[in-house]
Symmetry: D2
Subunit: 307 residues, 4 copies
């Protein structure tokens, strides 16, 4: 492990906090900035240094960014790197937020102009996945930069995958979310079928989760599907947006995507029927309505496979 | 562990052999019959007893069946239980083959007539999954029978799930295979998109397999998708048949199944185009053709997540 | 026109009455039987003879059947032909009801045994279409029988088409109804889109009906779509049944049918949501709900293209 | 008929020529310009005046435009109206080409700036449809302008429909083309099914065309489907573009469009498989391939319902 590397971290929201914490606990030299400084302070217990000014991060070797939107990414990087040319600058920026292909490419041009390498490194997983040590990254950009950043990426979870140059990792993440949409929709189809045939949802999903078809995703959505707790992890509109990004990529690259198209259409239907404020897994409710089934929570304790 | 229970096992094909072996190695008192006795003989090294006559199994406490078709199941059970009433009979039969709902119900009636409990216990996984210790069962039938059989089921792999009375487990298995069809099709859609966008398939699938969307299934199909080795594990026609069973169940229970229907139609297309002799994962070839992409094996060693 | 031919007619329901009336008004020698004799009596004003007993039709040259169900067809023909061998028998039976392929084949065998030719001749159109003189027939069976029956078929409407031997016309009718389902669903998709974009439905459909895409069908469903009068002409469940017959034929003949499959699934959804008692054109209501649109009747007089 | 109105006509391609000819033969005072003047000259036999300079059309009362692309529309109108403010100007422009919503709106703004009313008036039909007198228009823009232009629109074919203000007619035309795509795809599904079941295509389509499902469209595509003459009337890529425009409108107005989405995907597949140079009705070939059917031309004379 290349110990003397100085890490910078921007963004201590639910996910960013948990990610930075893993680096700090892993013994890294890490300096963190967050818009609301108080939220980041507990990280000091894990060994991180919480800075007051974004500018203080301009001299870290590797600068990680994990914030909410592309506008945030642009703003914090502009400020962090404002004085980059004078007093030193990061060797690379590793951008882990969910931003668009176009935004990512714009960022790359901007950083190239400053002589800073750039890795696009979106993640698979939510805050609970991070805590369970199972976050993964998909990374694109200069290979040598990836080789240097990799130990830190891997320290944050269960590994990283390098898919090539440029913004390819953004497309990989879109593909991942397209699959997420298709899998949840199909899971709802078969879960409703299983229930109408006479199986309790928790029993059916227990089998499915243990089976070769089970994934971390099917497991952590199981409590929602069994007990109908649909607090938002990701909204139907955001999922529809990702499906649209996937279909747009399909158009650009001339790839037919029948299941993805149909899933996009079902999300549109869901939103049209007013089911847009809860979690996307309310697809189960729509599927049940479409099958003439009234769902009840089963009130059974079920594992999410993480905690 | 209730040690004195005497187990009987019918069928030492690729999967049956591996399953019986796990019971034998686990210390069970197990007697095995196979049509071609020689194939079963090596099990004796693991502690199993290989019998000559099916009738010898009629006095085992629990009789497992793992053969190829429903016709085989009927024949071997008829012979094994021919003298059941006289000299004793099994407490229960545990049927693990992939047979139809109707066949399973017929079997249940037949066994009920003989006073023998019956568990329908199809599996998730192939021979490699068994060897990796990851086979799972979905079980239906009398609860007390399941409770008694469970230790042996669990000894064969990664656990079992009880979903209720009657033939419910057969429907659960159909749902599982429907999902398998939908997931492989969507996996092909996004893999072709990723490749046309510029990613090597092995890199993209490495990410996906590590991600929250990765399953045992996506992992063990990865060598086929990367290196285009499409030796048959399951034919397109068999998968189409399972999709048809799922859609039939959807009709019976009034459940719309949009993604499942579309996947069934794509399998039909595949067969119409003459792609019916290789593995169902040749869906990737069809998807690539539909996207104007000529696939080449990547000739990269990739893990199947099992061995 | 071969004038001396004696026609027999069984069934004076809404459609049968209108069909027999056209033959009678066309100057044919026609004898009619109906279960409720009174309903048929007004046909005498048009020159038909209304008989009391089914048996009286056994000596007509061509015997037409237009009743509700296959069970009715079997019963009336059995009675009409009970004494067929003794006192003479029809040269042929022309069966115009909507019966299954299997029923039609069974009928053919029965009639063949009696030495009576059989034409399967289902229709396209409803009672209003008949009155407008636009009914058409699709016919299968012996070619010579068709040649003989054709003048009478054509006299009832806008023509007939001969598609070959056996029950092929039943499959043709199923294909016709599959298309009907697909067209109404797509019509609902684009009509809802047009309305949300700002067009009155009657204006949009006026264009569409006049355009190259307009059909008798799109025109006679227009009043329902504009003024939301959904009295039943054909129920969602009957349409779903025809889609199922089409998909079954697709399975038998290995033909993928993507749009037909998806339409079937949408009808299933409609029924699951409780929209099963009104006309199938309530697909418009479902489509509007799925698009978050509250429909109002436009209360505009629109033509159905028939009256 | 308001006789003294002076009409101007820009564009004497296959469709424009036939349209202008109908106005000339109808006795209108019409002046025509075409880029290649010779192609327009024969119109003088019908009573039209063929001008040399676009500028000569600036003083016509109603100026029709029927050219190939939006760029052409912009260029010819700019030139025709260059001196509009000085020596007089048209009361209105009626734009009949297939241009985009955005292009149409831009045109409207430009003409509004010059004080010229603007009707967006795309058509349904091809050159053969025009010759058969069955062309129709869908029109949007100021109602009074439509009332004034209507007699001339109706003289060119079988009528026009006014759908409202602005560019609504462009959306109506997109909806029309979406339906065209869905109908041809479904027609191919059932035609292949009918053939595999044993019907000649011409017999099946004869029935369908006469039936309530028959449209001008199904009739004029019949020769292609029967005799496999796939010379281009409209390419798969152009149809895919119109489907994309329809789906984009669906996204903008939050309307799910399942059949339209799936049809778009099938066109993508068709293009991916290299079937992009012939007519879009080669969807029949793809459908046949997907069903394992080798098609042969039937070499039967069939009507297109027009000539």
């Amino acid at each position: 492990m290349p110990t003397p590397t100085k890490l910078g971290w921007i963004g201590a929201g639910r996910m960013g906090y948990a990610m930075a914490e893993r680096l700090a606990k892993g013994g890294c030299d890490i300096a963190v900035w967050n818009r609301t400084r108080e939220k980041a302070l507990p990280l000091e217990k894990s060994g991180a240094k919480v800075v007051n000014q974004l500018e203080e991060l301009s001299t870290r070797d590797i600068l990680f960014v994990m914030v909410a939107t592309y506008d945030d990414v642009k703003e914090v990087l502009a400020r962090a790197l404002a004085s980059a040319s004078k007093g030193g600058k990061p060797k690379m920026v590793v951008e882990c937020s969910s931003i668009s292909l176009e935004g990512s490419a714009e960022l790359r041009r901007m950083l190239k102009g400053k002589g800073i390498a750039y890795l696009a490194a979106p993640v698979s997983g939510n805050a609970k996945v991070i805590k369970a040590g199972k976050l993964t990254f998909v990374v694109s950009g200069p290979r040598h930069a990836y080789d240097e950043a990799r130990p830190y990426l891997d320290m944050m979870g269960a590994g990283s995958s390098y898919v090539g140059e440029g913004e390819l990792s953004r497309i990989a993440k879109i593909c991942h979310n397209v699959m997420l949409g298709v899998v949840i929709q199909n899971l709802c189809e078969i879960t409703v079928l299983a229930e109408k045939a006479g199986m309790p949802r928790h029993a059916f999903l227990d089998f499915l989760n243990k089976s070769v078809m089970g994934s971390m995703f099917t497991r952590y959505k199981t409590p929602a599907l069994v007990n109908l707790d649909f607090h938002v992890t990701f909204t139907p509109k955001l999922l529809r947006k990702d499906l649209d990004l996937g279909l747009d990529a399909g158009r650009r690259f001339d790839v037919p995507m029948p299941l993805s198209s149909l899933t996009r259409d079902l999300l549109q239907q869901m939103i049209g029927r007013g089911m847009s404020e809860q979690d996307f897994s309310t697809l189960l409710l729509m599927q049940a309505q479409n099958a003439g089934l009234k769902l009840e929570p089963e009130d059974v304790p079920v594992s999410d496979g993480l905690s």
